[in-house]
C-alpha cells in the first residue's frame, strides 16, 4: 500500500499532455418552466372563483350532474345485463366533462375505454358511445362525425394516434388540437413514452390528460411509478407538466383550455396530471374491498367534484335551488331516455362480420360469407 502511493507521486505524462476538456455541458432547455407546481392547481374555494364566468360555472355544474347520472345509469345497465361491463367514472366526472368542454368542434378527442363520459359530453349519442361495452359493435359511431377516435381498450395505444393526427393537421395547415386521455397505469406503457417523445420532438399540437385516479385496477400509484408526480414526466420530454386538482372542474377546465390554446398557437404539447379518485370499483367485475379501505373512499367522497362545486356556487349565490333542481331534472330525463333505448335489443346483421375487414372482400372472405349466409338461411327455414 505504502509503496504504491509513493509510485504515483509524479504526475503521469498523459495527464500533463491531456487535451483541453470539451465545452461544459449545458441543458438544451431550461427545465424550470416545464416543472409542475408542487401542489395541484385549484380554483374552487380560492379568490380566483370570483373571476370565473358564472355561465361557464353553471354549465360545468349541469354537465357534472348529468355525468354522474350517466355513470349511475350505465352501472345499473350492467346489473340488468344490458351492458357487458362498464368502467365507471363516478368521482372523476370533472376530468371527463372539462376535457370535452375544453375542445373546439374541430378538435379531436382520443379517449380510453373509461372515457365514455367525455365522448358523451362532447355530444356523442350515449347509445352509440356504449356499443363497445354492450357488445353489439366495437365502435358504434363514425369517428369523423364528432372527431372522437374509437375508445381504446389497449392501454396508451391511442396516444401516438393523437400525436400523428395533430401532426398531420398541422402539416395541412389546420389549427386542430388533439386531446389524448390516459389513466395513471397507462403512463407505464411504452406507447405513453413514445407518444410524448414524438409530440415534443415534432411540437405537435397535442394535450395529454392523465387521470390519476389512484389505481390501475388494484395496483396503487406507488407501485406504478417512482416519479415525484406523473406531471414531472413531462420535463424529460421537453414539454410543460401541469398538476391540477382533478375534482375541481373549474381548475381542470382552465388548465386544459390553456394547454389547448397553447397547442393551437404552435406552442407544442402539454402533459396534464389530474389528481382524482375512482369512487366505484374498476368495473362491475372488480372487488375493490380487496385493495382499499372504506375510510379512504369516504375521504374522497368529501372532496367529490359535484359536492365542492355545488357548495361553492350555492354559498356565493350563483346557483339557487331552481338551478339544482333543473340540473337534476335534465339528468333524469337523459337517464330515462338512455334506459329506454338500451332496453331495446339491438338489431344485428351477422353479415356485417365480413363487410368491413377490407375495402374489397377477398375471395376467402367471400367464401366464408357465403357459408354463413347458407347457415343463416338454413336456420331461418328450420
Amino acid at each position: 500500500m505504502q509503496q504504491r502511493s509513493s509510485t504515483v507521486q509524479a504526475p503521469p505524462a498523459a495527464v500533463a499532455n491531456r487535451p483541453a476538456p470539451p465545452p461544459a455541458w449545458q441543458p438544451r432547455v431550461d427545465p424550470a418552466p416545464l416543472l409542475p407546481d408542487a401542489t395541484p392547481f385549484r380554483v374552487i374555494g380560492t379568490d380566483a372563483m370570483a373571476d370565473a364566468d358564472p355561465e361557464l360555472l353553471l354549465r360545468l355544474y349541469a354537465e357534472l350532474v348529468r355525468g354522474r347520472r350517466y355513470n349511475a345509469q350505465a352501472t345499473a345497465l350492467t346489473k340488468q345485463g344490458r351492458l357487458a361491463v362498464y368502467p365507471s367514472t363516478t368521482g372523476q366526472e370533472a376530468c371527463e366533462v372539462a376535457a370535452a368542454m375544453a375542445l373546439e368542434e374541430r378538435d379531436w378527442l382520443f379517449p380510453s375505454y373509461r372515457d365514455t363520459l367525455a365522448a358523451v359530453a362532447r355530444g356523442l349519442d350515449p347509445v352509440q358511445a356504449l356499443t363497445l361495452l354492450r357488445g353489439d359493435w366495437h365502435t358504434g359511431y363514425d369517428p369523423h362525425e364528432h372527431r372522437i377516435a374509437p375508445l381504446s381498450t389497449p392501454l396508451a395505444t391511442q396516444l401516438p394516434h393523437a400525436v400523428g393526427l395533430a401532426h398531420a393537421a398541422r402539416l395541412k395547415g389546420d389549427d386542430v388540437v388533439a386531446l389524448a386521455m390516459v389513466g395513471d397505469g397507462g403512463t407505464s406503457e411504452g406507447d405513453f413514452h413514445e407518444a410524448l417523445n414524438f409530440a415534443a420532438v415534432w411540437q405537435a399540437p397535442v394535450v395529454f390528460l392523465v387521470q390519476n385516479n389512484g389505481f390501475a385496477i388494484s395496483v396503487p400509484l406507488a407501485k406504478q411509478t417512482a416519479a415525484p408526480s406523473l406531471a414531472h414526466k413531462a420535463v424529460g420530454y421537453g414539454m410543460p407538466g401541469r398538476l391540477v386538482d382533478g375534482n375541481d372542474a373549474v381548475a381542470v377546465h382552465q388548465v386544459l383550455t390553456e394547454a389547448v390554446a397553447r397547442a393551437r398557437r404552435g406552442g407544442g404539447p402539454t402533459l396534464v396530471e389530474a389528481i382524482t379518485y375512482r369512487i366505484d370499483a374498476h368495473t362491475n367485475a372488480d372487488d375493490a374491498t380487496r385493495y382499499r379501505g372504506e375510510s379512504e373512499v369516504e375521504a374522497w367522497r368529501e372532496h367529490d367534484p359535484i359536492r365542492i362545486l355545488e357548495r361553492d356556487l350555492t354559498e356565493r349565490g350563483v346557483l339557487g335551488e331552481d338551478g339544482v333542481r333543473e340540473a337534476a331534472e335534465a339528468a333524469e330525463t337523459m337517464a330515462a331516455a338512455l334506459r329506454e333505448r338500451m332496453n331495446a335489443d339491438p338489431v344485428l346483421d351477422p353479415m356485417d362480420l365480413f363487410a368491413h375487414v377490407y375495402a374489397e372482400q377477398t375471395a376467402q372472405l367471400r367464401e366464408q360469407a357465403a357459408q354463413l349466409r347458407a347457415e343463416l338461411d338454413a336456420e331461418s327455414e328450420a
Binding site: W137, H138, P150, P160, V163, H167, L171, F198
Partner: protein
C-alpha cells in the same frame, strides 16, 4: 409530334439495368409526386436515405415534412402513422429490419389491422409498412427474420412480397394506392438484384392479390414467393436434367391469397411443393399446403410437400446457408413427389 420528341421518348423508355432498391425508391417517388397525401417516415429515411438507401433522395425532393426522420421508436412510428392516416394522409412507414418491427406489433395488431372493421368502414387505414425481410445477406442476429406468419395470421392486413424489379415497383405503387394497410415485405437479399427495366414506362400496376406463373411446367408446381422465387427458378432449371419439368408460381401476395392461380397450376401438374424461408411449423407453407389439399385432392398424385427454414431461431450468418431452402433441398423434395401409397 416532332421527330426529336419521338426519339427522346424512345430513348427514355429504353430498358436499362435497375436494382430492386431503385425500383422501390422510384415507386415512392412517383406516388409522392402524384399524390401530396403520401408521406414517408421511419428511422434514417431522410438524410441517409434508409440503411438500404431505398428512400434515397426522397427527402431532398419532397422536404422534411413529407419524408421524416422519426425518433427511434417503432410503436411510435406506426402509432403516429395511424393518426396521420386518420387525418387523410397516406403514410409509408419503413421498419429498419424485420426483427425490429416487433415493438410495433401491438399497434399493428390492435389498431392498424382492425380500425376499418371496428369503425364499420368509417376509418380505413391506408398505410404501408415496408419491412426489409429475410436472410441470406450475412446479417447479425435480428437482421434476417422472416416474420410473414405473424402478419398473415392477422385479419385486416394485406401481406405482399415482390420477387422481381418490375413487381417491386408495381406492387409498391399498388400498396400505396390501397385503402387498406399493406405489409410490404422487401426481400433484402434481392435489393441489389438487377433487371432491365424502364422506369419511365413501368409495367402496369396490378391489383394486390394476383399470383403469377413464372415458369411453365408439367410435372410439378413449386409454390413460392419473395426471396425463394429465384431459388425455385434455379431448381426448376436443374430439375430438367432429371426429367422434371417444373412449374413455378410466384404468389406475390400472401393475403389476399390467389387460390385460383395456385390450384389451376396444381390441377395441371398434379404435384406441389411449397418453398419459403420462414419456419415450416406454423409457417405459411402449412396453410398453403392445406388449401391445396382441400381444393385439389383428386388431382394430387402425392402429398403436398414443404421446403422451409428449420424450426429454429434464425441462425448465425456462418450457418445460414444450412438453414435456407436451397436448390438441393428443393430437388430432394421434388424427388419425393414420386410418391407411392404406403411408401
Amino acid at each position: 409530334m416532332t421527330r426529336a420528341t419521338t426519339v427522346a421518348k424512345t430513348v427514355a423508355a429504353k430498358p436499362r439495368p435497375a436494382t430492386m432498391a431503385q425500383a422501390l425508391q422510384r415507386a415512392m417517388r412517383d406516388a409522392m409526386a402524384e399524390d401530396p397525401t403520401v408521406h414517408v417516415l421511419g428511422e434514417d429515411v431522410g438524410t441517409l436515405g434508409g440503411v438500404f438507401r431505398v428512400t434515397d433522395g426522397l427527402q431532398k425532393e419532397f422536404g422534411e415534412d413529407r419524408v421524416t426522420d422519426t425518433p427511434l421508436a417503432e410503436a411510435g412510428i406506426l402509432g403516429t402513422a395511424v393518426g396521420m392516416a386518420m387525418y387523410g394522409l397516406r403514410p409509408v412507414v419503413e421498419m429498419q429490419f424485420d426483427a425490429f418491427a416487433y415493438p410495433a406489433f401491438e399497434q399493428l395488431i390492435s389498431h392498424v389491422s382492425r380500425m376499418r372493421n371496428r369503425t364499420r368502414g368509417a376509418m380505413p387505414m391506408p398505410l404501408v409498412v415496408r419491412v426489409p425481410y429475410g436472410g441470406g445477406i450475412g446479417g447479425v442476429e435480428h437482421h434476417s427474420d422472416s416474420s410473414e406468419a405473424y402478419y398473415i395470421a392477422t385479419p385486416g392486413l394485406h401481406v405482399v412480397a415482390p420477387s422481381t424489379v418490375e413487381d417491386a415497383y408495381g406492387l409498391l405503387r399498388a400498396a400505396i394506392a390501397s385503402d387498406d394497410p399493406v405489409i410490404f415485405l422487401e426481400p433484402k437479399r434481392l435489393y441489389w438484384s438487377k433487371a432491365d427495366w424502364s422506369p419511365e414506362s413501368p409495367a402496369a400496376v396490378e391489383p394486390i392479390g394476383k399470383a403469377v406463373v413464372r415458369r411453365r411446367g408439367t410435372s410439378a408446381t413449386l409454390i413460392t414467393y419473395g426471396p425463394s422465387v429465384p431459388v425455385c427458378l434455379e431448381a426448376a432449371e436443374a430439375a430438367q436434367a432429371e426429367g422434371w419439368d417444373l412449374e413455378v408460381v410466384d404468389l406475390r401476395s400472401l393475403v389476399p391469397f390467389d387460390d385460383e392461380t395456385v390450384c389451376a397450376s396444381v390441377r395441371r401438374t398434379g404435384r406441389a411443393v411449397v418453398v419459403h424461408e420462414s419456419t415450416g411449423f406454423g409457417g405459411p407453407g402449412g396453410e398453403i399446403a392445406a388449401r391445396v389439399s382441400e381444393r385439389c385432392f383428386h388431382h394430387l398424385e402425392a402429398p403436398v410437400l414443404r421446403v422451409a427454414g428449420f424450426d429454429i431461431p434464425y441462425p448465425p450468418p456462418m450457418l445460414e446457408r444450412h438453414h435456407l431452402p436451397g436448390v438441393d433441398r428443393i430437388l430432394d423434395a421434388v424427388a419425393r413427389l414420386q410418391w407411392e401409397a404406403g411408401s
